[in-house]
């Protein structure tokens, strides 16, 4: 069981909403209305941990260890949302999300293969870690800088926890897990796809398509992409950090050196061929197209 050790490790690093946030250092002239609106959107996105936890619990009925870890992950992600809402409650109370707005990001995700979802969320945490680090650098207001630092380091810990379950999956499910992780990795490293490459920007419920991303449930659905490109400036330098996190982690996981997305693609192709998967060419072509990312891509 990984859960007991993770519980101890994460508990030892846990910060307090009351005593570890320097609320008294707030500088009103260092934050704009637009930035405050972005904090609200991030609070709403973090709230989507709720349907994600529901998905993980539903799709992993035989995995008591991972399901128990979900209790920690869910708690800490909800705490992120609460922290951002507390910031707004202190400094921009009119922007605190309403319960109705929070409820909108909770909707059912279609069932998904557990290995794919695990990998998706590992890569998502790697990306989120860099997004929050970038947001921290962009902001000048001291309290929100501290908040984004707390969030970034939590996301790095979550990535490490997901990674441990990926290592366990390789031990238990061998090539099936390897192929699933390589497949999702190729999707997440595809430079032709939208750079908002995170589970909250994936299509997750066919009956609601095309408005079935968590982002679509925000009061301003186009905010996420604008926040990254026009506001915090998440450009090529930051993107390279995400790619390094993904490729080097997969290198360690697979025991091979994967220096580029192309190397990962080739690795996946070789893996599929070695396993006698005859459908790989059609699938490989499809995931290289510049189309909106969806769970069905990852789950092909």
């Amino acid at each position: 069981m990984i859960y007991p050790q993770l519980f101890a490790e994460l508990e030892s690093k846990r910060w307090s909403l009351g005593s570890d946030v320097p609320w008294h250092t707030f500088q009103a002239d260092q934050i704009t209305r637009r930035q405050l609106e972005g904090i609200k959107m991030n609070a709403l996105l973090e709230w989507s941990a709720m349907p994600t936890a529901e998905m993980f619990l539903r799709d992993n009925p035989d995995d008591a260890d991972f399901s128990a870890f979900m209790s920690i992950w869910f708690f800490e992600e909800q705490k992120h949302s609460l922290l951002l809402m507390e910031y707004l409650r202190h400094f921009a109370p009119d922007l605190v999300p309403t319960e109705q707005e929070l409820s909108r990001v909770r909707f059912e995700f279609d069932p998904a293969p557990a290995l794919d979802s695990l990998a998706l969320h590992f890569f998502g945490e790697v990306r989120l870690n860099q997004w929050y680090r970038c947001a921290r650098e962009w902001h000048t207001e001291p309290v929100i800088r501290h908040v984004y630092q707390l969030l970034a380091t939590d996301e790095a810990r979550h990535a490490r926890a997901y990674f441990r379950y990926m290592e366990r999956a390789l031990e238990r499910q061998g090539q099936t897990a390897r192929l699933a992780f390589a497949k999702v990795g190729v999707l997440m490293c595809n430079p032709r796809l939208n750079k908002v490459m995170h589970p909250t920007n994936l299509h997750v419920n066919k009956s609601m398509y095309p408005n079935d991303r968590v982002c679509d449930q925000l009061p301003d659905p186009g905010w996420f992409a604008r926040w990254l490109s026009d506001e915090i400036g998440f450009g090529d330098v930051w993107e390279a950090k995400v790619m390094a996190g993904i490729l080097k982690s997969l290198s360690a996981l697979f025991g091979v050196t994967l220096e580029s997305p192309e190397a990962l693609r080739q690795y996946r192709t070789q893996l599929r061929e070695s396993l006698g998967d005859t459908n790989w060419r059609a699938d490989s072509n499809r995931t290289s197209e510049a189309e909106a990312p969806s769970l069905s891509d990852a789950h092909a």
Binding site: Q149, T153, R160, K241, A244, G245, S251, A252
Partner: protein
């Protein structure tokens, strides 16, 4: 016996592999606190790699207290 981490393991906060971090320590050994401060970003990061790096340093006889 506790298994040592793979040297290819990647520290997200430091943006370096454990192998790269160990190489820095091998080239110029520093006391552990200075090692963390100088060769990693663990002190400002998630801290998840600290015990693993400590184990690697001890195993490689590169752990220094002062």
């Amino acid at each position: 016996m506790v298994e040592l981490p793979d040297m290819r393991t990647y520290c997200l906060c430091s943006e370096l592999s454990y192998g790269d971090i160990m190489e820095k320590q091998r080239a110029e050994p520093l006391p552990f606190e200075d090692f963390l401060e100088t060769y990693t970003k663990c002190n400002d990061g998630c801290g998840g790699c600290v015990p693993k790096l400590e184990r690697l340093l001890v195993a490689a006889a590169l752990f220094k207290t002062r």
